[in-house]
Symmetry: C2
Subunit: 436 residues, 2 copies
Amino acid sequence: MNKIEPRTLAGFMELLPEEQILFEQMKQKIEKTYQKFGFLPLDTPIIELSEVLLAKAGGETEKQIYRFNKGDTDLSLRFDLTVPLAKFVAKNYGNLSFPFRRYQIGKVYRGEKVQKGRFREFYQCDIDIIGDGELSILNDAEIPNVIYTIFKELGFDDFTIRINNRKLLNGLFESLSQNENATEILRIIDKIEKIGKEAVIEELEKISVSKDSINKILEFIEIDGTTDEKISKLQNLNIENEMFKIGLEEITETIKYIRIFGIPENNFKLDLTIARGLDYYTGTVYETFLNEHREIGSVCSGGRYENLAEYYTNKKLPGIGISIGLTRLFYVLNELNLIKAEQKSISKVLVIPMAEDLKVPIEIANTLRKQGINTEIYLNDKKLKAKMKYADKLQIPYVIIVGEDEIDSGIVKIRNMETGEEKEWNYNESLKDVLI
Amino acid sequence: MNKIEPRTLAGFMELLPEEQILFEQMKQKIEKTYQKFGFLPLDTPIIELSEVLLAKAGGETEKQIYRFNKGDTDLSLRFDLTVPLAKFVAKNYGNLSFPFRRYQIGKVYRGEKVQKGRFREFYQCDIDIIGDGELSILNDAEIPNVIYTIFKELGFDDFTIRINNRKLLNGLFESLSQNENATEILRIIDKIEKIGKEAVIEELEKISVSKDSINKILEFIEIDGTTDEKISKLQNLNIENEMFKIGLEEITETIKYIRIFGIPENNFKLDLTIARGLDYYTGTVYETFLNEHREIGSVCSGGRYENLAEYYTNKKLPGIGISIGLTRLFYVLNELNLIKAEQKSISKVLVIPMAEDLKVPIEIANTLRKQGINTEIYLNDKKLKAKMKYADKLQIPYVIIVGEDEIDSGIVKIRNMETGEEKEWNYNESLKDVLI
């Protein structure tokens, strides 16, 4: 028979079990943290009607969509979890309690150019808080608490949640009569860390921003000092613009409550250069950086938007949310050897039967499982050496060998595979004390 | 602006949060049980090259495939988790430890005719044990241990794992020189419970099985009594056929070890009528029924196959596995009100601030979370009544109201939302004792 070469599509992550175990641990820590803050689970289909999914999309995103017909139906694979959320909330408005706090962790699809570390199928881990008509600014301060808890859980200490408010920027542009250019200006200043100040000035001149306005913009984004110093410098700019004033109030309030939420000063920062490319955001915006690995880019971003589902409903649904691109995050952390794993195997114990009689080893395995200990029993006919090698390769931390002697005496030895240390266990007793 | 009607495709399950919580609990119980037996996680892409995914498929399945082009590439969505497993094992053969025990829980896609309780996107929860060249029959006895543990975990007692061995049937047919008709005969006798004995005889006559052979076949599938009586009746059939003899040995061994694995007699059964439609299986086969709800059909099925990945590799990879169609199972159990939920909410506690000062309520929420208790804090400006209603609708079991008095005294009241009972808590102490 002719064989088909077994292969996986480029841009699609497929891990070996030992890596998958680490991936699952990261995923679970994120999910548990979302739950710890009371976010509700949601699981929307991966396939949606193109008409529904692409209600808003256009330009770059649309080209990347996996879109196809099944029979007469025009279908697309979701490219994020926000549009399905908007559809879901608009569809089920009457059955939801607001503020609606939901998390969703799932795969999304974008046919991006394949390159190292970029994926066409990847997990997003999202939370959003959706208000019915209104949503308190306190939510803007709670989101960093979630981000903080997640990255601590993942074993990081030196990270910074960078915060800004789009109303500051938009108000500034308005005061300079640059509303029309706002999106373009945002796009340019967003690049300042990458391309430098001079290049930003050049690009701003190209789109006919006046010298005076450029100076004001730079004066704004170059504001430095501590968070409190920055806020007082913003006040001193004396920008006479309503939106700017609201933005300043919002960011002041947000910072005040971020502190009450208990986020340490070195884990957050007011960063006036952060705009987030999308014109979607209308208030607070976040980006999160691992300070020793700035090159990775933001590992958790999001912000506040005025209206989640305007393409589907007249209801005003303001919201705030963040997203973690888990597949890419896992990939880069794994490359940098930065994944802190408590556990490298699924099984904690491998029971190895070495006698004809399987009653005792099976009983031991069942007993351990009832005590909540993941336990595998080696059921195939191999020499002891091969069985030990199996435990070793799977990095199973403990092995129990059950031969004739052990069956006769009722006492087995538990071998710590890392240290080689052995402890005796009378298997009618609880193992937990012996293992730890 | 014209609004797009927010809608979800027919045949795609999308649950409200209160149902999604129950779904996630079922999914997690299955996953935890798979892990308890040492199965390793795997997560393959949902999209594969059609050439790879459809290496084996044909007929009915192929029509149901979601298949499309992206650029020049012919792609398909996976329709089960077995073909991706075969691809994965063939591709990564050198990097795996055998027996390779993996679980995978993920969505698969089949464009079936839409009808109530049938889904086009649904979760399968699979385990498989793959041997390198050989795989001990003991594995056939361990699989029912996993099935048994799962359905006990899901809160069921009255279920039966029905077991058969395809070699018995195939050996019988061989002894009757009916090898050619084997698949067709299997298909017919598989229906005996549905269509009755007479209709089976009629259908067998239609495909020219001799009266004598029909009698032998019926004599075989009508064997009754206890499991041990059935085995001795099988021996007494005196069928002189090598395959039948091997099948009889295998099933005898399997039953012997199922008992040693501790499965109660009323939770398993030798059922000679079970064939499983697929010609894929070559040895032990399983179906699992909830006895009070036979109409649901088998809730967990699978079996032994000779060669997992013959379309991709010359390596002989025998295996055994089972699958739970979770989406359908959840749907029918939910319809029948048979889902046993320990927990109907994500949050265990809702903290309701009723004073200007948020320091204390936030501190309480953070403290509870650190103690492992999922806690939400109500952050929006509403009257107490609206906040209580929110807790009620989300079925959050405990509420803590924090007003001026509580802040002054350092003592809050924890209200059990079901009983109305209130307990005082000094929030510098651990809450766990108070809650339980």
